[in-house]
Structures are given as C-alpha cells and as structure tokens.
Symmetry: C2
Subunit: 508 residues, 2 copies
C-alpha cells in the first residue's frame, strides 16, 4: 500500500496515514472485510516508526472504520450509513410505529409549545419581553459565582467531579437547614434533599405520590410548569380560586371532602402567576385541613425571599404539625437559572423514598455547582445579592404599577403584589389575552397569556407581567406599548361581538 | 437604645449593631412586635451614619428577625423556632401522617439500600472494592476537563450559567450526532436530547411510556438502577435469560406474545452485569420482533465504546427500521460521574414528548458542563482518553481473568467479556453471593451481589466484579482474598445443608 506522506507538513504522520485510509474506506476504494497490512509491514514500506502506524489504526478503530481481530489483523468494517438530512425525513405521522402514533394524543405539552411559538412570532425590531419567569439576568452575580466555581475547581477538582452524596453536598444541606431554621422553618440537614432546580423537587414528589387518575388540588391559576408536570402523569386537577388573600381555603375544604385529592400543591407566597400572598389565617387553616383530611401539602416557595413590603407570613412548613408539608425552594431564580440547584425539605418516611426517586431519576446532581454555591453563600454574597435585588425589584414594581395606572384604561385591574416577580393584570371586560398577544407583539411588547396558568386551557382575560426583568424606563415604555395594544383591541371590539364570554373573576 | 460599639474592631459597625440586636431578639430581651428606633434616631444617638443603621436593619430583616411596615417603622418579628436535634426525633412510624405510613410498603428501594449497608459494614483496614459501576477515577481526565470548564467560564460565563437550549447545548448535540453517524448510527442533532446522565434518559422514557401495571421486558439479570426505576413506577418486569450471545431472543418472542409488554429495555453491548455482547443475528431478530409486536426498544449503550477484542456489533439503533428504537448513552462512565451528561437519540413524535418530559422533570440540564464537554471533545481529548482507558482496562481484564483462574476453584465459572467494565462470576454450586459477602468483607474484598440485578430478589450464586477500578497487582490481591473467602464458605458448607437450592443457570 502506497500512502503519500508529507514530512514537512504540520499534520503528524499518523494523522496523514489515518486520513488517507479513511478517505479510501469512505469512498469505497477499500472494501469492507479488506485486511489492512500488518503495522510492521506498512511501517517498513512507508519508512516510519511502527508506533505511527499503530496510532493511525487505533484512530480508525475508534471511529468505527476498521476493527481488529486478535491474532489475525486489522480489517475494514462494514460500510457507514450516511447521516440523515433532517430530523424527520418522513412527513406523514402514519409512517411512524403505531405506539408512536398513540402518543400524538398526549397534548399536555402543547400549551408551553404554544407560548414558545408565540414568542418566536414577534417581528418588532426591539421588543420588550415581560413573559419570563426569572429575575433580571443582568443582575445575576455571574462574575462572583464564576470565581467561586474556579476556586472549587482549583482546590477540589476530583471530588467536585465525582458523584458526591446522593442527597446533596452535605455542607450545602447544613447551610440551607441553618438559614431555614433562622427563618422559622425548623430543618435538619438530613431532611434537606438537593434537587436539579425546584422543578425536579415538584417532579419527585409527583412521581412518588401520584398515579394516573389521582386528584391534585391546586390554586387556579397556578404555575404552568406544575400543570404540565401533573398532566404528564395523567392526574386530574381540581382548581381552587384565589382572591387577594391567596387560595380561598374555605373552598378547598369542599374540594377535599368531595374530590379526595392525593396532594395539595400551593404557592402561598408571591404566587405564580398572581403575585398574591396567602394570609396567616388561611395558612393555618390550610395546614389544619390537610392534616384532618390526610393529604400531603407540597409548598412551592420559589421567591419567598423577595418581599418588598408588608409582614412576612410563616411558611406552611413552619406550621407543619409533623410530616404533613413538603417544602421546596430554589437558588436558580435569584442567582442564575443555569445553576439548576433547588432543594426540598421533608420529614418522615417520605424523605427516604424521595431520595430513592431522585436516584432512579438521575442518580445525583452535579457536585461542582453545589460546592460553588455553598462557598458563595458562606462568604455572605448571597444575602447581599438578595438584598440588592430586592431593593432593585421593589423600585421596578413601583414603576410598573405606576405605568399601568397611566397607560392602561381604568377598567384594567391588578393587585399590587407585596413581593415576587409578577403582576397579574385583568384586561377590560370582553378582552382575551390570547387575542391581545399578536397586537401587543406588533406594538413591541410580550407577556405570558393567562391561559397558560389554568388547568383548563381557554381564552382568559388575564396576563402575567414580569416586573423584575427591566429597568424602570424600559418598563414604562413596555407598558405604554401594552396600553396602545389594549386600545387597538378595544377599538376593534366596538365593531364586533364580545370576543370572550363574561367570566367569573379570579381576583377582584 | 444603647449599643456598645468598638470603633477599633475589624468588624464593621453595621455588623456590630446587627449582632447586638440579634442577640437581644434571640434572647427574648427584645420582644416580638417591639418597634425598633427609627434609623435616623438610632444613627444620631450612636453617632454613626444613617446608612450604617439601615444596613444593620436590612441584615436583620434578611434573617427574618425583624420586619418593616411601610410608613410605620421596623418591628421585631415573631419568635424563632429552634432547630430540631436530629432528622427524626419521633421514633414510631405510627406518629407520621397516615399517607406517610402507606409509603412504608413501597420497598422498591431496599435492594440498593441493602448494598449501601453492606458496603458500610466492611471493617477490613484496607479493603479492595470491586462493587462499583464506573471506571477508575484515577484515570479520569480531571485536569484537562477543569481547564475546559475554566475556559468556558472565562469566555462565556453568562451564557454558560443561563438556561440554554432545552434539548441541550446545540454544538454538543451536533458533535454527538456526528460521532454516532460515523459509528453507523444515523443521527441528526435534532434527534439528540441531552440528559442528566443516561439514568435520566431511562427515566424520561419510562415516565412517558409506562403506567402502573404495564409490563416491561428486560434481560434477567439487568442493571439495578433500571430495575429500581421500573419498580418505582409499579410496572411488572418480565425477565428474559441471557447466554454468551446476550439476551435469548427466541424466549423474548414468547414473552412478547403472551406478556404484551409496553417496552423492551436492553443493554446489548457489554451488558450490565454479565458483560455479554448480543450477537449480530440476535440484534436483527430483536429489532424485527419489536417492529412486528409494536413495542418500543430502549437501548442502553452505556459502555459500548469500551471494546477490548472481537468485532463491533451494530447498535440496535443502527438496525432501526424507523422510530422503533430509542438509543441512550453517557459520558459520565468514561469521563467522570459528576459530569452528569448523557443523551438519548429518538426520532418521530416521541422525541418532542420526551423533551416535554425533560422540561417537567427539571427544565434543562446545566449548560456549563455541556459547553465544557463540547470543548473537550472538539480538541480530540475525549477520543484519546477513550483509547488510553480502553488499553488500560484491557490489561486489567486479562489480569482479572488470570487471577480468577488461579485463585478460584474450577467450579466457579465466568465468561470472559469482550469489553466493558464487568466480570460476572458464578460461584460453585450451592454458594450464595449474599452469604459470601460478609466473609469476603472480612477478608478485605467487596463486590456487587447478584441478587441486586434480578427483578425478583433472592439469593443468587452470582456476583459482579468491576474489572476496571484497580491496577493489575491490586486486582490480583483482591481476587486472592475472594478465593480465600470462597474456600472458607465451601468448608463451612461441608458441615451444613446446601444454603441455596439448585438454580437454573443464567449463563453457562
């Protein structure tokens, strides 16, 4: 075999050999099952070291182009397939296996896909987005956190890249338990389970406690990611309405009696999407009811730290008579979403089973991120970041409420949230947020339409605005655009029948 | 209010104020609802800047010790609870809520817990562990990978810490698609979904496709993490035995006809725990059967790259007539477990639904790790690491087989694996691996007892040895100890009745 070698090339000789053989195999010049020359023979004929040929063969073998059979040599492997031109080269769903066609009816992901498509459809040159579910990424302490990560890698690279403790990095669990206890939530490190964001905490609880057909009691509206999760499990959702004091717990009792739910899912503090905070009285009522009806409570406290005014209410977990409430929170919202570090707190036999669920779900979370987070919290930076963000978002909330009062018609209403990330806006009677969306997008502003947050998808007069993502001047401009879109829709409505039927108010 | 301040102390003044008030509140000297002095008043009386007092109050508020009411001032918050002394201060399970007591019957996690306890029980001063499921952590390219991480953080910190693409970092998906295609598995980047290790890929498929009571066809024995996952979903497991050619596909057909499984889970290449590699003929048979009986195949290719000899077999995915096979693999086994980056490849409507499952499970995987991995693969380091590890493990496999032939009685049998991480050892007739375990631990060697890998837990004459974790001299010493333990157990057995009933051979 004659292989042209360029000894002056910066490409190493073994790579030149490899490249030549690779081309010969890919082009079909060397047919499958062809025996390549023994490395010693080829090395001699090319005038190179035998190791050079061995390395070239090893590269080819790693790529699946040749294989070696002990004692008999190296052979060209079966022909390669060509990569597909696109993900789905077949068009009709009928072409897929039957079991895949059956999946087409699982539509529980369509709401989220709908939103994605809505967001992609915005053609304005400089749109202002109020749709997101996190804080302002420009405030995220990326530099500080990067330094923490680098310090961990420098001091402790091997451990940071190992499996680590399945329940989470123990010093981080201890820190979380300490902070929670100081906030009135008694927690032991062994009751803390680190999760990949709070979404995983919700998923673990749901997977452990729910089976298809079970009933889950939720606030209506509630977090769309929870609705999607529950839908993915084929459970039935029983919605309890809210008012300015949060979930209307009196109505929850009826639902508990008649619906026999297996789980209560609630966001008592700075609720997503409405921003309401459950009153202390109702918190006590809800925990007592859960206890009486033997139903576990999953408390989602995703931005409880973000209070701008008013008195802090105790977490439901702080009122827990013992083992009734599973508490979950996250660092991703306030630091950076890519952190993917959340946690849950649970006591009793359920804890060990949630840990086992975590193990079968993804074995363990990345140790590296947990170690960096622990270091970051320890030097006090988390607390000061939180304080700074809180002050900043407070001003932004005020700017948004002010702009809403100036640019929206008086018949549009909202409840000033005492904290958190969201303002829940109710449009003037007859307007649907889904209909408003394309008009607003034309004007250069986007939001999360209310229909995403209800268990039954239908046109809703509500929309969720993120108050934290932009500085006050951008908020003002965004709300001005929103006001213009509402006016256009109202003007259009005067020439048409009412676009959605009169609705029972969710928040009045 | 008189607060003693030490102006020479390195502790900032605001922290001294905070500390003093904190002590007063925690000790009960300052009662709840006490109004703290206005910041201006206190600042004047202490002779400090007003900002100093504001900062101290903000710290106290962040800790939940005080709260501020707009317009009326700062007040001491309700008393704090004390942290619990231990995770479970109540002893009797009867004290937990009824719904928690019902969980006690969910015993699907006990096998893994049993192993953990077994491993903890080893009292030998210098035990040699063959129980693990990963490669040798000393060979992991931690330094190289750390450099890749640091480069990503330096160049691209903010994006690396954001949510990123929900399906995974696009350049990494493109790279994976490219490598798979070169190995004969046609894959488009849009068919690749990055997961948190391959365990999450298994979990996503199981959560999407299975409901309680469904039947899953597995190899028996099989990967214990898959057994636990399936058990957590209350599905029934139908085991098909293996021989030296892998799953006995002829028997699978009977099971497909009578059991109507909803999923086939298989590890065709270097099977866990037996190390066998399914023959090409059986691979084609299995894919054809799955197609005929309309059952999806979940192909777990966790160490397919780790071949020491023999001809590479095509992945089942490479034989897929279209949308029938979901393929999963991982980088965690060969690089470092803490990476938590695996992936699945699927085509057809199932892909989008798996992506939605990923979203409800944990939103997305860490972008940072994916970017670093992509960079690491691009510079060619992954391939050369793989080659080095492969050569190393090949020698270790030979050392283990050699030691087994020398130190174990001839009636102990094993099948030399052509690749992968495991040797599956069958003990002499009548010996149980669970009984051997404590004796072996006394001698200073541990392994994974075979009972972990069977859907029905019972004493088994098999054990799994990890061939990759130790250099040849340690392997030799470990197997010598194992031989001694087997001899002791055999000697004990001569004075007793046979400890386990005669068994149908799994691999003969």
């Amino acid at each position: 075999m004659r292989i042209p070698l360029d000894r002056d090339s910066p490409v190493p000789l073994y790579q030149q050999i490899q490249q030549f053989l690779q081309d010969q195999i890919r082009s079909g010049t060397l047919l499958p099952e062809t025996r390549l020359p023994a490395s010693r023979t080829l090395a001699a004929s090319l005038g190179v070291n035998r190791i050079t040929v061995t390395n070239a063969y090893a590269e080819l073998e790693a790529e699946g182009l040749v294989y070696s059979r002990q004692g008999s040599g190296t052979f060209v492997a079966a022909p390669l397939v060509t990569p597909p031109q696109s993900a789905d080269d077949r068009i009709s769903p009928d072409d897929w296996p039957l079991w895949q066609q059956e999946l087409l009816s699982r539509t529980w992901l369509l709401a989220q896909r709908g939103l994605d498509r809505l967001l992609e459809s915005v053609s304005h040159p400089d749109p202002i987005c109020f749709a997101g579910g996190i804080g302002d990424s420009r405030l995220f302490p990326t530099d500080d956190f990067r330094k923490a990560l680098q310090a961990v890698l420098r001091h402790d690279g091997t451990e940071a890249l190992g499996y680590g403790d399945r329940a989470g990095y123990p010093p981080l669990r201890a820190k979380i338990a300490h902070v929670l206890t100081s906030q009135g939530i008694p927690a032991h490190p062994d009751q803390v389970l680190i999760t990949s964001g709070s979404q995983q905490a919700l998923a673990l609880v749901a997977h452990l406690l729910l089976r298809p057909g079970d009933v889950v009691l939720i606030e209506s509206p509630t977090y769309s990611g929870a609705i999607d999760l529950f839908r993915s499990l084929d459970v039935r959702l029983l919605g309890v309405p809210l008012d300015e004091q949060g979930m209307q717990v009196e109505q929850a009792e009826d639902a508990l009696r008649s619906g026999r739910p297996r789980l209560i899912y609630t966001i008592p503090t700075f609720h997503n999407p409405t921003g309401t905070c459950m009153s202390g009285h109702r918190r006590r009522q809800l925990v007592a009811l859960a206890d009486r009806y033997n139903v576990p409570v999953l408390e989602d406290d995703f931005v409880g730290d973000l209070r701008y005014e008013g008195r802090a209410q105790p977490a439901l977990k702080a009122l827990d008579p013992g083992g009734q409430v599973i508490y979950t929170s996250t660092f991703s919202k306030m630091l950076m979403p890519g952190l993917r570090v959340g946690f849950l707190v649970a006591s009793g036999p359920v804890y060990e089973r949630l840990l086992a669920c975590k193990r079968v779900t993804d074995l363990a979370s990345s140790n590296l991120m947990q170690q960096a987070l622990e270091a970051y919290i320890t030097v006090g930076r988390y607390q000061s970041h939180l304080r700074r963000a809180c002050q900043m978002y407070h001003r932004r909330r005020d700017a948004m409420l002010d702009a809403l009062s100036r640019y929206l018609p008086a018949s549009a209403r909202c409840l000033p949230p005492q904290g958190g990330l969201f303002v829940w806006l109710q449009l003037p009677a007859g307007l649907s947020a889904n209909e408003l969306y394309p008009v607003a997008a034309e004007e250069g502003v986007t939001f999360a339409p209310g229909s995403l947050f209800f268990p039954a998808e239908r046109a809703q007069p509500y929309l969720r605005l993120n108050l934290a993502m932009h500085p006050p001047d951008v908020i003002e401009e965004g709300i001005r655009r929103l006001g213009r879109a509402v006016e256009r829709l109202l003007a259009r409505g005067e020439n048409q029948a009412t676009s959605i039927p009169p609705h029972k108010a969710v928040i009045t």
